[in-house]
């Protein structure tokens, strides 16, 4: 029989960050098997959606999807479905087709695309076509995608689902700060200040919900400064200037992850989109001002 002392915490370097999985209140071997499966789910997302791996779905799409439909892993298809939906609902601000601009800016490897930087498509016709049988086609031969703004959240959701499938009562998956929790006991999460990483902005209690943050990359091995963020405003082709960091609470981590990008770009104007997705946000401006939506304080974004 499980006792209250039964808990397991494991970590692996995946998705370019440290992924930690914590579970509790079940028999040890059940928890161990569940955690293995959860890490396998994350590794599958990593394999399918890495921009850096030439064999990934993302690389195959970027090479061939403009010439003809490419069959992808069902998970890659799901992420692209979500990306297309978010692209539409955010009036083009969430854009996985931003890869050429990121390459241009030196934020992604590889030669810059031949095309000059500029908006990839008007929001009216999405450049990514979702076809039956998990096939994807790009309408424009200049499209190149990067799922870096959404795949990590999806991976967290899949890992959490794997834990649930094993019948565990309690669990958390944390991919370098993008995390999701389930179970009766809330998890306490502190949020690092985006401008001063050795300081904390606040603490939140999460129960059956997800949280993700954006605001650059932090290399704690070498320095305490936050490196330039890999978020680009599709309208200006520039990184957002007014906001230093954003955290979003949402019913799923794929939403939390993707919405941080929109809030970084759109700031207070993102309120309607957050409402639509039953999500809330905390925003730290570059002047250090802190803004939250009412839902952030209420903690009422409980997943159904």
């Amino acid at each position: 029989m499980a006792t209250a002392r039964d808990r397991l915490r494991r970590a692996k370097p995946l998705l370019g960050t440290f992924v930690e999985i914590a579970v509790a209140n079940a028999a040890h071997d059940v928890m161990a098997a569940a955690v293995e499966d959860a890490f396998d789910a994350i590794a599958r997302v990593h394999r399918c959606m890495s921009f850096h791996d030439a064999a990934s779905d993302v690389s195959r799409l970027n090479q061939h999807a403009a010439a003809g439909a490419v069959t992808v892993d069902p998970w890659t298809f799901q992420v692209l479905e979500a990306a297309v939906e978010l692209h539409r609902r955010s009036a083009g601000l969430f854009d996985v087709g931003i890869a050429p601009v990121l390459q241009e800016a030196g934020l992604l490897p590889g030669p810059p695309c031949a095309r000059p930087p500029g908006p990839l498509a008007s929001s009216a016709d999405d450049p990514i076509e979702l076809l039956p049988g998990h096939r994807i086609r790009f309408r424009d031969r200049n499209v190149a995608i990067d799922l870096g703004g959404i795949a990590k959240g999806f991976a967290v959701d899949r890992a959490l689902y794997a834990l649930r499938e094993h019948g565990l009562p309690q669990g958390m998956v944390n991919a370098g700060g993008d995390l999701a929790v389930f179970g009766a006991e809330p998890e306490s999460v502190v949020i690092r200040h985006p401008l001063e990483p050795d300081q904390l902005v606040c603490q939140v209690q999460l129960a059956n919900e997800a949280l993700a943050s954006s605001g650059g990359r932090l290399d704690l091995f070498e320095s305490s400064s936050v490196a330039r963020q890999a978020i680009i405003d599709p309208r200006t082709q520039e990184p957002p200037r007014a906001i230093a960091g954003v955290s979003v609470r949402a019913p799923s981590c794929v939403l939390a992850d993707a919405l941080t990008k929109v809030v970084m770009i759109q700031g207070e104007e993102s309120a309607a989109l957050l409402d639509h997705y039953q999500s809330s946000a905390l925003v730290v401006s570059i002047t250090g001002e802190i803004l939250v939506t009412p839902g952030w304080l209420g903690g009422e974004n409980l997943a159904a």
């Binding site: 440290f18 993008d178 306490s188 932090l218």
Partner: protein, 156 residues
């Protein structure tokens, strides 16, 4: 439509405390060995940081322990290689971050207590989950590559 709430900045929100502020022990070396090679009957030490996993007379592979140390981060990890020198798995043994903080201003924190959360805030002693700018695992990835290069042909 949602309206945003501007939070008054606290006088003294947080102060960094002496390291290590955040440390987790995930696995011991023995646990990592067992996890990487569950069917191994023995682990024969090869050098100061590597062990050959064996079952009877068969070599199952090699497990190497390594650490990467930086200004604010210290990580112990293991790399398990199959006899062909391919990566079987990578596990973090210990993670120590000399950052973190202690939130001192209780009234500031009180505004974050959710209506749905009856639990009192306990910030200080047990920071376990941190969210913020994306943490890079680049150095561990580089370390894993070095281990594969150094030990890849010694795992059989």
């Amino acid at each position: 439509m949602t309206s945003w709430i501007r939070l008054a900045a606290p006088a003294a929100l947080v102060s960094a405390i002496a390291p290590p502020a955040y440390a987790v022990q995930y696995l011991s070396i023995a646990q990592a060995q067992k996890q990487a090679f569950p069917s191994a009957t023995s682990f024969a030490q090869v050098d100061a940081r590597s062990w050959k996993a064996q079952s009877g007379g068969t070599v199952l592979g090699l497990i190497v322990v390594d650490h990467v140390i930086g200004k604010h981060l210290y990580i112990d990890y293991t790399v398990a290689l199959d006899p062909g020198g391919r990566i079987k798995r990578v596990d973090i043994l210990q993670y120590r971050e000399s950052y973190g903080g202690e939130v001192r201003d209780a009234s500031w924190l009180a505004q974050f207590v959710g209506k749905s959360s009856a639990s009192a805030l306990k910030v200080d002693q047990d920071i376990r989950n941190i969210s913020g700018a994306t943490l890079s695992s680049h150095h561990v990835t580089e370390g894993v590559k070095r281990i594969v290069a150094a030990y890849g042909n010694r795992a059989r």
